[in-house]
């Protein structure tokens, strides 16, 4: 790796995935630092010292007025253009769950043609009417410019949200799919898009959309949690896979060495930043 990659992981105000996201980024090769939203606002920490910025999962401000709404409002009013400068200056941004919700409310996504201010897509209440924790199959769009999913086709991650239903107008959807900004889609066991079928599509997302990126591919938001698949035993099928593997003499009992898809996704971003 040509240089150390510094990753900023937002925390505070009810965010709650900051520890594991920082740890996952370290596993992915970055030097990760948890930074409280307030020390970013007070400029005690400076975005310019980082190459990756992670908006993490949680319930910022309790998510009482729409998930990520107040976090986005706080950052917009207090950080001014720092965020946009960071993005246009080549920085990488990943928004996971509440972070994704925040990115769309900030307008950093879908970020069509360098417009990083307009709210034109939304993540709203799940059709099932409830918070839902379950693992989902994901299908990646290999034609997407997204740097985080490079070389990944189909993999599993957990979703944990009450407001993950992706929605936008038809024109915007057409524009995003044309530019391959639709990065991840909920899929069935066979790896094909879920076609809206619950629970494969856990929230009723338009076109099974689970994650999107901006037109540069450097700003990525997704509802599933890569930072929650950083150890082989996180996967719900690991005990079965282990016994079955042992039978045909594959794999040792200790599968600790293998890199998980959650870490791999983040590593793509870190490697890209290192190469910049």
């Amino acid at each position: 790796m040509s240089r150390t990659v510094n990753a900023l992981v937002l925390c505070g105000y009810g965010l709650n995935c900051d520890r594991e996201t920082a740890y996952a980024l370290e596993l992915a090769g970055a030097r990760a630092q948890r930074v409280h939203i307030n020390s970013l606002i007070s400029r005690d920490s400076r975005l310019s010292d980082f190459q990756i910025m992670a908006f993490v999962g949680g319930f910022s401000w309790g998510d009482d007025h729409g998930a990520g709404v107040i976090q986005a409002h706080r950052l917009k009013t207090r950080l001014g253009d720092d965020l946009i400068d960071f993005v246009t200056g080549g920085g990488l941004v990943i928004g996971i769950c509440n972070g994704f919700q925040t990115l769309v409310n900030l307008g950093l996504l879908p970020g069509c043609d360098n417009d990083y201010r307009t709210r034109s897509v939304a993540l709203i209440a799940n059709d099932c009417g409830n918070f839902r924790d379950d693992w989902v199959h994901l299908r990646a769009n290999e034609a997407s410019p997204c740097v985080f999913t490079a070389g990944m086709t189909a993999f599993d991650l957990p979703v944990r949200h009450g407001e993950g239903k992706f929605f936008c107008e038809t024109q915007m959807h057409a524009r995003m799919s044309e530019k391959n900004q639709i990065v991840l889609r909920y899929a069935d066991d066979s790896g094909q898009p879920a076609g809206g079928k619950f629970p494969d599509n856990p929230n009723g997302s338009l076109d099974d959309i689970a994650g999107i990126c901006d037109s540069t591919g450097r700003v990525f938001g997704l509802m599933p949690h890569p930072e929650a698949f950083i150890h082989p035993t996180n996967h719900p099928a690991w005990t079965r896979q282990k016994t079955l593997a042992a039978r045909d003499g594959r794999a040792s009992t200790d599968t600790g060495s293998t890199i998980t898809d959650g870490v791999r996704l983040l590593k793509n971003g870190v490697d890209y930043a290192a190469g910049m």
Binding site: F59, G62, R119, I124, D133, H225, P236
Partner: protein, 998 residues
């Protein structure tokens, strides 16, 4: 002038919240609105010019999906139901809305401006009657203890005014006053106690009076301007002496008599003899037990550099009044215990246990909340409290019995982790020293939660003050949690404890004992609104507060850190060595009590306990003939309320946040079958993990609470063993929930029997834990699980819950990759039953379905099962087994089915091979609930090693795992196939009762 902003989803988007109301109205109340849309309302009690109004609506309106207006939104309806909070009830969305407005408007927006949220439901329901609409409001949408509502018909609705401007601001035109209470006679004092709802125990009154009449005491008090006790002093005493805080019942003197043998004995304190002594003995033997019996939670070793802490609580009374708020304050509240243990722990997981009446209860009695609504509220309260705290809820249980109609049970359990050493000193140690400052962190103090402790020490009745019902604020607490951990790691925290039951009265009172005194400046305590009396500030149980001792040298750094985390912290006094609890308000002393006074010998509570054994009570085994339709029998057993799927609850709970999930609450190919226990890695760079399980078996209490407790502990232990936990490093937490045991000929005629049940339960706890070698890391008791419910004619019936003990068990897994799950893994694997089945169906699910309670309740011999558990640990550790599943409620039939259903594989089992104690018919073998048993599947290549390991034990090969999506085939003892049903059919039956609720 105030403003009312209405926000709603665009009409072309489905409204899931509205849909939930519509479907529940149909399912619960059989009323059928055509559609329901929800309008969110933010009412701002401040002057805003047009520009400011626009700025505010920009914050709260999503341009892509929402519409909003300061005028009533034009949404079609036949009826409107408006629901908002009562004044003084915590309005979390209102508070966060204010924060956001300050961001936009800055100083132009006065900080004290009221911001209130409410909801307007628009019902399309042309044929609905006013009475039906009122039921939807009353029984579905609003709870009058915390909420108010209004109903508008189309005709009554004014398009320009809408719901009007409703401002639930608390206005108390009241000058805080300290009242002096005369102590001339016991009667006088008791009268005041009743009138002020002090719930003083009559037996305590003479001791209290004697103290305040002592000449030396009066002299000291005179010096500070006091004479007779003040209300704040009596409140302090009442809190500290309440059964909730002082455990007077468990510390009572029990005269126990067995009416069959006539033998009797006297037990001086069940707590000392059955809990404290045994635990101290275990601590001697087990070096991994770090800290027990004194702090907010117990601590045990996780690894050389970490301890884990655990405690379990109940929140029954508040949940029974207001299910959502009560359960939420329960889970958020128990999470403060590990935060307040030692120098403070980081929360890593939680568990829950709910006991309510049956969801479809249609009897004559009218509980405060119908069990169905109550359970919905409890589930959602723990969901929001747990999820928003960022703590995984990895295990839980739900149990239905109409005995819980009087009062429901809500168990909440919390586990935290802390470094073994903080600032070079053991993290479990803490103390306060004279000169250190008393700091209150987190939420503000209001009238909410006053007398919670004393109320929970009472039987529920219409007069129970609703004031102790609250809504938790996990957002504020999460900020405080993050802040306090950073303060701990910087060595700023000398002592920390939480403000729960009793509020400052308990937290300051107890922490002052270490230093030997304290001085409190009550006027400094930040309030939600003015006008509280001094005693109210002192005992308020307003949530999300911790009390911390900080050295004056660290004060500035501590306050700066607090501000950085947007957490309010306030110096409210200092610790002294005066030997006294000294409370002042604006320089005026309003309380001055010797700390030792609480240690003075108050009269011990005394109970008569009379035990009549089950046979003597007329219990006997039912006479049941052989069923001839076992297929339907098994399907119906799987669909029983206490056995069927609870996936709809588990999915609502984030059980994977913090990324440590190893064994999830649901497992198997379909990720839908409950695991025996959960396994979580609290330290991400380590492959060690915490296994956690819980059990409760109240049905057995109908026969003998001794076996109820013994079997409950065995189940919790066996659940840990099944996932691969070492049997010799198990810690336990006991949570007793019992009806009132104080005999009274008219109000509690069977009190002596209930007392005997408690004595037997506690002795079973002691003997079983001794035999297993389990130290009780923590535990709590909650008495008075009774209620008086109105019947058909307005008469009331006392309903007492079945005596219940939830047992939680933990163990540290040395190497997570060795863990196993309960799902059958591969075709051709061999199926084994480990452990003997005996004729023990008394209290079983099978007898219950047949309408009987038998006599043969399962017996436990730890001497027999423990060696088996040690073998099982070795079998798992040597990776001989593909799956392990304990046999619990419902017996072999149910649990063989679950193992097969989880693997989505067929299974063929020959009952004649099942190890048994005596002759048993097929139904008996299938549904007996004998302890100590497992269903195990083993790959053929491990057959020899596995059988060799269990040679000499009760272990037999009973069958083989079948093909993908195959049938469960069970061959009866006469060699005929008695069950042959597809796994998918069984799963359907098991999911049918509650499956639709996902």
């Amino acid at each position: 002038m105030a403003h009312r902003l209405e926000i709603a989803l665009r009409s072309d988007l489905t409204d899931p919240a509205g849909e939930t109301v519509r479907t529940r109205a149909a399912a619960y109340l059989s009323v059928h609105p055509v559609s329901v849309r929800v309008v969110h309302i933010i009412t701002i009690d401040a002057d805003l010019d047009e520009q400011q109004q626009a700025a505010v609506s920009d914050i709260f309106t999503n341009p892509v999906t929402q519409i909003s207006s300061y005028l009533p939104l034009d949404i079609p309806f036949d009826w409107v139901i408006w629901v908002g909070y009562r004044p003084g009830v915590k309005d979390n969305p209102g508070d966060t809305a204010r924060e956001a407005m300050v961001d936009s408007l800055g100083d132009a927006f006065p900080l004290d401006s009221g911001v209130y949220t409410s909801r307007r439901y628009c019902l399309r329901a042309p044929d609905m009657t006013a009475e039906q609409v009122d039921r939807i409001a009353r029984e579905l949408l609003a709870n009058d203890t915390i909420e108010q509502w209004r109903i508008f018909s189309k005709q009554e609705w004014d398009d320009s005014q809408g719901i009007g401007l409703i401002i639930p601001r608390v206005k108390l035109d009241h000058e805080p006053t300290v009242t002096v209470i005369p102590v001339d006679t016991d009667e006088a004092l008791l009268a005041v106690s009743d009138q002020r709802n002090l719930a003083l125990n009559p037996n305590d009154v003479p001791t209290i009076r004697e103290y305040f009449l002592r000449p030396d005491v009066r002299q000291q008090r005179q010096a500070v301007g006091l004479s007779d006790p003040t209300d704040i002093e009596l409140e302090y005493i009442s809190q500290a002496r309440s059964d909730h805080c002082n455990h007077n019942t468990f510390n009572g003197l029990f005269h126990y008599r067995d009416l069959a043998t006539g033998e009797g004995r006297t037990i001086d304190s069940l707590f000392v003899t059955c809990i404290r002594q045994p635990t101290l003995e275990q601590k001697q033997k087990k070096p991994w037990v770090v800290s027990v019996l004194w702090d907010n939670a117990g601590a045990a070793r996780f690894d050389d550099s970490h301890n884990y802490v655990i405690t379990g609580e109940t929140h029954n009374s508040p949940s029974n009044m207001e299910a959502y708020g009560g359960a939420m304050t329960g889970i958020v509240g128990v999470y403060r215990d590990p935060m307040g243990t030692g120098k403070g722990a980081r929360l890593v997981m939680g568990g829950y246990g709910f006991c309510t009446g049956h969801r479809d209860y249609a009897g004559e009695l009218t509980p405060r909340l119908h069990p169905r609504r109550l359970l919905d509220g409890v589930i959602e309260g723990v969901r929001d409290g747990g999820n928003k705290s960022g703590i995984p809820t990895t295990f839980g249980q739900v149990y239905f019995d109409d005995g819980y109609l009087g009062k429901c049970l809500v168990f909440v359990t919390a586990i935290g982790i802390m470094p073994a050493r903080v600032d070079g000193k053991p993290s479990e140690e803490k103390t306060t020293t004279p000169g250190e400052l008393i700091i209150m962190c987190g939420g503000r103090v209001g009238k909410d939660g006053i007398h919670g402790v004393t109320a929970s020490s009472e039987v529920f009745s219409e007069t129970t003050p609703a004031g102790h019902v609250q809504i938790g604020d996990p957002y504020t607490q999460k900020k405080m949690h993050d802040f306090l951990l950073e303060a701990r790691d910087r060595g700023m925290i000398r002592f920390i404890t939480d403000n729960g039951g009793g509020g400052l009265s308990s937290s300051v009172g107890e922490s002052a004992e270490f230093a030997g005194g304290c001085e409190v400046w009550l006027e400094k305590v930040p309030l939600k609104y003015e006008g509280l009396d001094q005693w109210e500030i002192w005992v308020s149980e307003s949530q999300e507060r911790m009390t911390v001792a900080v050295s004056p040298d660290d004060l500035d750094a501590f306050m700066a850190l607090s501000a950085g985390h947007a957490v309010e912290s306030t110096v409210i006094g200092k610790y002294t060595d005066s030997g006294r609890l000294h409370i002042l308000y604006n320089g005026q002393t309003c309380a001055y009590i010797d700390l030792d006074f609480m240690k003075s010998d108050f009269p011990q509570w005394v109970f008569d306990a009379e035990w009549s054994p089950p046979a003597m009570r007329g219990l006997c085994e039912p006479v049941l003939g052989r069923p001839d339709d076992f297929n339907k029998l098994l399907s119906d057993m799987l669909a029983r309320p206490n056995i069927c799927s609870r996936e709809w609850i588990v999915r609502q709970y984030d059980h994977e946040v913090q990324a440590g999930s190893v064994i999830k609450p649901l497992t198997g190919v379909g990720r839908d079958i409950p695991s025996d226990a959960s396994v979580t890695r609290p330290v991400l760079f380590s492959d060690r993990a915490i296994a956690f399980s819980q059990a409760l078996l109240p049905a057995y209490s109908a026969i003998d609470t001794w076996q109820m407790v013994a079997c409950t502990i065995d189940e919790a232990v066996r659940r840990l063993i099944a996932v691969g936990a070492p049997p010799d490093e198990i810690g336990g937490v006991d949570n007793f929930c019992w009806p009132n045991i104080q005999y009274d000929p008219t109000t509690n005629p069977d009190g002596k029997y209930k007392a005997a049940q408690l004595v037997r339960a506690c002795q079973a706890l002691k003997e079983t834990c001794d035999a297993f070698g389990i130290p009780l890391l923590s535990g709590k008791d909650s008495m008075y699980v009774d209620g008086h419910l109105p019947g058909s004619y307005g008469e009331t019936h006392k309903v007492s819950a079945p005596p219940t003990m939830q047992f939680s068990a933990t163990a540290v897994i040395p190497h997570v990759f060795r863990c196993v799950t309960m799902d059958a893994k591969a075709e051709g694997d061999l199926v084994y039953i480990v452990g003997r089945t005996a004729d023990e169906l008394g209290g079983s699910e099978y007898y219950d379905m047949m309408g009987h309670t038998g006599l043969n309740v399962p017996q436990l011999s730890v001497e027999t099962v423990l060696p088996v558990y040690r073998n099982m640990f070795e079998a798992i550790n040597r990776e001989m087994v593909a799956s392990v599943h304990g046999v619990y409620r419902g017996g072999l039939g149910v649990h063989l089915a679950l193992s097969a259903m989880a693997g989505e594989r067929g299974m063929i089992v020959d009952l004649s091979q099942v190890p048994r104690v005596e002759r048993l018919n097929d139904a008996g073998l299938l549904f007996s609930e004998s302890t100590g048993r497992f269903v195990v599947t083993v790959a053929p290549r491990h057959q020899e090693a596995f059988e060799a390991l269990f040679a000499g034990e009760a272990c037999a090969r009973v069958g083989v795992v079948g093909r993908d999506q195959g049938d469960l085939v069970i061959i009866g003892q006469e060699g005929r196939t008695i069950i042959s049903t597809g796994i998918d059919t069984l799963k359907k039956a098991w999911k049918q009762p509650l499956g639709g609720l996902i």
